[in-house]
Symmetry: C2
Subunit: 213 residues, 2 copies
DNA sequence: AAGCGTTTCAAACTTACGTTTTAATTTGAT
DNA sequence: ATCAAATTAAAACGTAAGTTTGAAACGCTT
């Protein structure tokens, strides 16, 4: 009669991902999680140890594959004959995000939202655990961008990447600041292809813009 | 011996602003606030009624002047003889943000961070109270951008504004996604003038980019 | 079927939260 | 100086949080 549910730990991860996105870490209680996951309250501490550890599991389940996919895209570009252009590098990040957004079994677009939430909430997890582990992500992109935008200085390039990745993350996370002031039509209909269509020209133009005198 | 402190309500507002930014709404307790503000626990409920109402007071103390300043910039542009260019409109938003960032008595850059936090936390306050009240902010900017970027369609323009304001808010809020992966030099030294120097060319280039076929 | 490690369950524990209450204190006008 | 109002103070209230506990139920090998 009923589709066989995933096991307890997976159900907890799935529900937690959604709730952490909706209500944040502090705003999500273990009782909300275990109730919606239809598991016992103690199951979280049994399987993950603590609420903190649960959050880390939720986060890492998505981050590791996403980073790996981006690095694979960069590998693919380096292997090609022709030199990469800015658009290629931007797509090397966007494509994995898109794949994530389109696959509900991978949490759909939830993780990018979780990531942006985690970012502004400034978790210990980000400050301590991850920074070191995935620094290769930034270094690879930085190296690639440096080759494609050779006329930009070190500092200028760092800023461009900061701005470009910021805008890309926000686009996929659906963080619309204007919705503060008015019901926005842009974000409510969040079709991944639409995001790319409008995001790509914007971010590429910003990256290749001449530096300020 | 001691500089005369501001009154109780103001001390609560100042401390709350900082703590709400650092720990979020749910993550900030009234006991943290009252302890750091050196006031009695009951003072919050006495002066503001509830934690929710306190948050609204904290938020509105900054938002109202910021919006007013932006609208004044737009008024100034309309009063001028020459037609405005994209850069003028961008600066019409950036200038008040800069003023906010430079004046510690106005909370410095704290409010933009609070705003971005409140955004991802998706507060009732934003969904219900503010949307209606400050819709003029978006409409005025939309009208101005439409005149400056006449070749963009309705939908395209909405996306450009979404992306542009997103990136500007994030730049001032200091939300650096790359810091997830590596200790970023960009944001740690957050000089307002540096922000403008690097932000302005990027966002202007993105706004005026040719639309995707 | 028995035994054993793993998982689930209901219940309780400790702590911290937002809020309320009631009394003490300060303030300001007469 | 006095009195009423406004403010501060200390304590307690009820609720909900994360975590822990010990027994019951389950799954698997023998």
């Amino acid at each position: 009669m009923e589709a066989s549910k995933p096991d307890t730990a997976t159900r907890i991860l799935d529900v937690s991902e959604r709730l952490f996105v909706e209500h944040g870490f502090e705003g999500t209680s273990l009782r909300m999680i275990t109730q919606q996951a239809e598991v016992n309250l103690a199951a979280v501490n049994y399987h993950f140890g603590s609420k903190d550890a649960l959050f880390e599991s939720v986060f890492m389940r998505r981050l590791a594959p996403l980073v790996a996919a981006c690095l694979a895209e960069l590998d693919r570009l380096e292997a090609k004959q022709e030199a990469a252009v800015v658009e290629d590098l931007v797509m090397a990040f966007i494509r994995p995000c898109l794949a994530l957004s389109r696959d509900p079994s991978k949490g759909g677009a939830l993780f990018v939202r979780l990531l942006s939430r985690t970012l502004v909430e400034n978790h210990r997890l980000l400050r301590e655990t991850i920074s070191q582990q995935y620094s290769v992500f930034v270094h690879r992109f930085a190296k690639a961008f440096k080759e494609v935008l050779p006329w930009l200085g070190e500092e200028e390039l760092a800023w461009r990447m900061h701005l470009a990745f910021g805008i890309m993350f926000n686009a996929f996370a659906g963080n619309d600041v204007l919705k503060i002031f008015v019901r926005s039509q842009v974000v409510t209909a969040r079709d991944p292809d639409m995001i790319v269509k409008h995001l790509l020209p914007f971010v590429v133009a910003g990256l290749v813009a001449p530096a300020q005198g």
